[in-house]
């Protein structure tokens, strides 16, 4: 069953097209990653999805119903964790969660249980009397998450929740998101960190300039490009004849060389590394470290757009 359906969404700011005929469909129970560099239109898409922004054209459906600013019955099942921390500095951790949870749940007893659940889930129980200003960046992000999930929504949108967070807190946040998904929530996760998206998401859409340039599982996306393996060999002043020989090896489609290393790109094939090492030993070429890398989403992005995700 489809949780979110976006059809030909267009959002213009005057002459600038922030979202350009974007269509996507997210199934219930998925962790869907929206990946793209800063300014690619991820947050604009999310804002349109939540009806925070009026869009120029297109249709948005959530749980099979059209979404609008007044779709309060849909909104009650949505949890939002904004990119910028949205909490009150004047309220304690507990009071903040109570406030945001209270926007959905009126019953005090039920709310109390939800707050305890959110505190437990984010590991903030011991900080519940703290004011946000006393919390570290990581704890503050966790509070932001607690405020977004306390009412136990079935669709949770995380808009770059790990920006400026230390690796330890980042891992906790990602583990938490996985757990929420295990408990039945559909997750939409936007980020410009490809490692996070690769680690977390079951399906991914890569965005650039307001358009989706690739979508599918990470394996499906990686198959879209020519490169299947990159081998880097640390060596000094590798001769031109040898470079030409390596170019002749099976499945090699590109080779780059400088004074310190050679980088060989392969298109398909097995045992590519063995063949390269065999050639080096046979011809007595000395070398240092050798490593083989599988393509990343960044490679996909680079090949499709000609720039990296963090450009």
């Amino acid at each position: 069953m489809v949780a979110v359906k976006i059809d030909k969404l267009v959002k213009r700011y005057g002459e600038l097209i922030a979202v350009d005929h974007l269509s996507l469909s997210i199934k219930k129970g998925e962790i869907f990653g929206l990946l793209g560099p800063n300014g690619s239109g991820k947050t604009t898409t999310i804002n349109c999805l939540l009806s925070l922004l009026a869009y120029t054209k297109g249709d948005i459906e959530i749980f099979g119903k059209p979404m609008s600013d007044s779709s309060y019955d849909i909104k009650k099942d949505i949890g939002v964790v904004m990119q910028n921390v949205a909490v009150f500095d004047e309220l304690t951790v507990y009071e903040n969660i109570d406030y945001f949870c209270g926007l959905y749940i009126k019953d005090k007893e039920e709310r109390k249980k939800c707050i305890e659940y959110a505190l437990d889930f984010t590991g903030l129980s011991e900080f519940k009397k703290y004011y946000p200003k006393k919390l570290s960046g990581g704890l503050l992000r966790r509070l932001n998450i607690a405020c977004g999930i306390a009412h136990k929504p079935s669709l949770i949108i995380f808009d770059e929740p790990t920006v400026a967070v230390d690796p330890q807190s980042r891992n906790k946040i990602l583990e938490g998101i996985k757990e929420l998904n295990k408990n039945g929530a559909t997750i939409i996760y936007t980020s410009h960190y490809m490692e996070e998206v690769e680690q977390l998401c079951t399906r991914i859409a890569i965005m650039d300039k307001g358009k989706i340039i690739a979508t599918g599982t990470k394996e499906e996306i990686k198959k879209m490009i020519k490169n299947t393996e990159t081998i880097t060999i640390e060596t000094i002043s590798f001769p031109k004849e040898a470079q030409a020989d390596i170019r002749q090896l099976p499945h090699v489609y590109a080779l780059e060389c400088d004074d310190e290393k050679i980088v060989i790109s392969f298109e398909g094939g097995n045992h590519n590394l063995l063949r390269v090492l065999e050639y080096m030993q046979k011809n007595n070429y000395s070398f240092g470290r050798v490593y083989s890398e599988l393509p990343t989403l960044n490679d996909v992005f680079l090949e499709i757009t000609g720039k990296t995700l963090r450009d």
Partner: protein
């Protein structure tokens, strides 16, 4: 009521910062009212220096002088003793010691050179006053002696002339203070206080809810936008009424039943309308994401600027025509006009129509400010 509850909680936390203004306001109002109520400005009592006269002459003229001086000064005795005079002056038991030398009367009539001797506290006001009384007696006596040689009659005429007293009554500028309603001294500072308290106390609370992250996050929830706006509006109204009620309680404590007279109620009504203006100003300010320092700056510029320009601190009748013409474009001017009319400060007689007009103009300012707030928040909406 989630938003209203949190609004109240944050407002109470931030209210402590504005208590200072209310306390200062109360102290100043009490001081000004007390000073205005003090009779020293309205009555005149002739001060009486303490004098000791040593009459070695005992003539008709010296006795007349003593009699006159004792009518104007407080008669004191000095005990015998070598340093008695200087000790009495040092301890201020007397202000002036006058010695009339033997033969002074005769010398005075014949134009001789014998003079009166005096010892007084150097540079004292009482000393100068007493010198003045002595000179006045001798000058008048000289005049009365010029046409005749009858000393007794001259002294008698002099005493009669000097007995004519001058009725003194203190009249303030334009004779306006005589009918001033004492309540005006409390209510005249209201524009400054209300602007300071709402801009420094209310605006930061509204700003907290207007922060784009919190506002958007709330808009994502299942709480209806109308419910959010109603709860915020209720919070703003309750805050305004709360501050206004504090002022009202202070007024009741200071003036008791006077507040429940027609004039008192009109003063209170005027202040209530100005509270709406102050709330309007704070709502407009709250649309901008400002740090507390900037907010205090704005409160001071708007509060002090408007107060000085509109006659809150300086009476409008002392201000230039040009300044008053500019001030007409500010709400505090109309508040002060209404307040002055009720208090009888400006000499303007109470007129229900004019009062309604002043109140109406303030209400229009309040409505305009709320409309500006509405337009700004609409434009800011993403």
């Amino acid at each position: 009521m989630q938003i209203f509850n949190v609004f109240s909680k944050i407002a109470l936390k931030k209210f402590s910062g504005t208590i200072m203004y209310i306390v200062i306001y109360t102290i100043v109002a009490v001081m000004v009212s007390n000073a205005a109520q003090s009779e020293s400005e309205l009555d005149f009592t002739e001060s009486k220096p303490k004098i000791y006269i040593c009459d070695n002459d005992n003539s008709m003229i010296s006795r007349g002088l003593s009699e006159y001086m004792f009518s104007k000064c407080e008669k004191k005795e000095i005990p015998d003793g070598e340093n008695a005079v200087s000790e009495s002056l040092y301890f201020r038991t007397v202000d002036y010691v006058l010695t009339i030398p033997e033969g002074f009367g005769e010398s005075f009539v014949n134009g001789g050179e014998l003079v009166l001797e005096n010892i007084k506290i150097p540079g004292s006001k009482s000393g100068k006053f007493t010198d003045m009384y002595v000179d006045r007696y001798l000058s008048l006596l000289k005049t009365n002696l010029s046409g005749q040689k009858n000393v007794e009659k001259a002294v008698s005429d002099t005493m009669k002339n000097l007995s004519d007293t001058t009725e003194v009554s203190v009249i303030s500028k334009d004779d306006k203070n005589t009918n001033v309603n004492i309540m005006v001294y409390l209510f005249q500072f209201i524009p400054f206080i209300f602007i300071m308290v709402t801009v420094c106390g209310l605006a930061p609370v509204v700003m907290t809810f207007n922060r784009s992250e919190v506002k958007n996050r709330t808009r994502c929830s299942s709480l209806k936008n109308t419910s959010r706006n109603i709860q915020l509006t209720a919070g703003v109204i309750v805050y305004g009424l709360f501050v206004w009620l504090i002022m009202l309680i202070i007024a009741i404590c200071m003036y008791g039943d006077k507040i429940f007279t027609t004039t008192g109620v009109l003063f209170v009504l005027n202040s209530l309308v100005f509270m709406m203006v102050a709330v309007g100003i704070s709502l407009v300010v709250s649309n901008f994401e400002l740090k507390s320092g900037a907010l205090n700056g704005i409160a001071n510029v708007v509060g002090l600027g408007m107060s000085f320009m509109c006659g809150v601190f300086v009476p409008q009748y002392l201000m230039s025509e040009g300044m008053l013409n500019v001030a007409k474009f500010l709400p505090a001017y109309w508040y002060v006009r209404a307040s002055n009319m009720l208090g009888g400060v400006s000499g303007e007689v109470y007129d229900a129509g004019k009062f309604a007009m002043y109140i109406g103009i303030q209400l229009m300012f309040a409505v305009a400010l709320i409309a500006i707030n509405f337009v700004i928040s609409k434009r800011k909406k993403v």
